[in-house]
């Protein structure tokens, strides 16, 4: 069980090890390559600033005004109709928009119901199996200056919705049939 954690910690150091050994074998000037490759880093990060400020400000206004919570309260009853706990709705809504907000909702659900409760497990799987689409689009398209995202946003959000529904179905099936 702990082995999985250990392996995940070892990946990056092992990658660096592989890169450096291959540099030694091929007699590449590793330090020179590192320095010239890393030069781009600061400028690349800085070019993301306007995109990030714009998107994060809009998300923050949506949250701090209480609008996000208001929409959540209106739509939650729909969830009960599909036999999905209504507590999960805020997570469904925030997951594609804000990673930190979604994580705090998941942490809150885990804390309130206890880690072994189905709602906490559902939240964890939803959180762990999807990504913050809006953030990824902002960063990746921002980095190369793409202003017309085209199909990417619709496809990304549709994939999120599908992913979250799949996560619910698989989690319920897994913990009822496989896990004991």
């Amino acid at each position: 069980m702990i082995d999985v954690v250990l392996i995940s910690k070892l990946i990056l150091p092992l990658l660096i090890l592989t890169i450096l050994i291959s540099a030694l074998v091929t007699r590449t000037d590793a330090y020179d390559a590192f320095v010239s490759g890393g030069k781009e880093g600061l400028q690349m990060a800085a070019s993301l600033l306007p995109f990030l400020v714009g998107m994060m400000a809009a998300i923050s206004v949506l949250r701090s005004s209480g609008l996000l919570m208001w929409i959540t309260n209106i739509v939650s009853p729909l969830f009960l109709y599909f036999n999905v706990p209504a507590e999960l709705f805020p997570l469904f809504l925030t997951r594609p928009i804000s990673g930190t907000a979604a994580l705090s909702i998941t942490a809150d659900l885990t804390h309130t119901f206890g880690p072994e409760h189905l709602i906490a497990r559902l939240a964890a799987v939803i959180q762990g199996s999807t990504d913050t689409t809006l953030y990824i689009l902002t960063v990746y398209f921002g980095a190369v200056g793409i202003k017309k995202m085209g199909r990417a946003l619709v496809v990304g959000l549709l994939a999120d919705l599908t992913g979250m529904i799949i996560a619910v179905v698989i989690t319920v099936w897994y913990f009822q049939n496989i896990w004991s």
Partner: protein, 196 residues
């Protein structure tokens, strides 16, 4: 479309706050979020410099082109527009691998580098190319074997077995990634396939 969504998010939030009595929170939120964005960029600068440096070593030592050649059959299927042995495929593969192990932070610089390579062969630089949309789909619905953040959160909340969600999450990502690729293909056929 992003323009309209962005305007709508800000506008609806500000108008709602006027009726909801949360103008103070909105004022605070605006400046806090801008500060958070700067902090994020500083964090990015560190990670980007480290990993772009490492990747340049891998590039010069020929490791990257080895990865590119090794995964060419998969890349060719996923990105039919990408020329053979294009440097973007090496970065795309490292990005996918980093996501697979739940290393989101390390995945970002590889992904940004892949986007830069894809932009160089983009015929309309303002618009997202077909390969870019596919690549973004692979990232938003990435196959994740080990969701590191969520496991450590469950550990700190005192879960009996914090790893109990790893298997269902892994299965779920396989399905959602396949769905994302499918949507990408279908929408490409609907939007751009017609004109060809």
């Amino acid at each position: 479309m992003v323009n309209l969504i962005w305007i709508f998010m800000l506008l609806s939030g500000i108008i709602f706050s006027m009726f909801n009595g949360t103008i103070d929170e909105v004022n605070k939120g605006l400046f806090d979020s801008a500060g958070q964005a700067v902090e994020l960029v500083i964090g990015f600068a560190a990670i980007f410099t480290l990993w772009l440096g490492m990747m340049e070593i891998a590039n010069r030592a020929g490791l990257l082109s080895l990865v590119t050649k090794l995964f060419y059959p998969i890349i060719r299927k996923l990105f039919p527009d990408l020329p053979k042995n294009h440097p973007a495929s090496g970065y795309i593969m490292t990005n996918i691998s980093a996501n697979f192990f739940g290393l989101g932070n390390a995945a970002t610089p590889f992904g940004v580098k892949a986007m830069k390579e894809l932009q160089q062969i983009n015929t309309k630089p303002e618009q997202a190319s077909r390969s870019m949309v596919t690549f973004l789909c692979l990232n938003t619905a990435a196959i994740t074997f080990f969701p590191a953040t969520i496991v450590s959160m469950r550990l700190s909340e005192g879960a009996v077995d914090p790893l109990d969600i790893v298997v269902p999450a892994f299965i779920a990502t396989i399905f959602s990634c396949s769905a994302a690729i499918l949507y990408d293909r279908i929408s490409w056929k609907l939007v751009e396939g017609k004109s060809k």
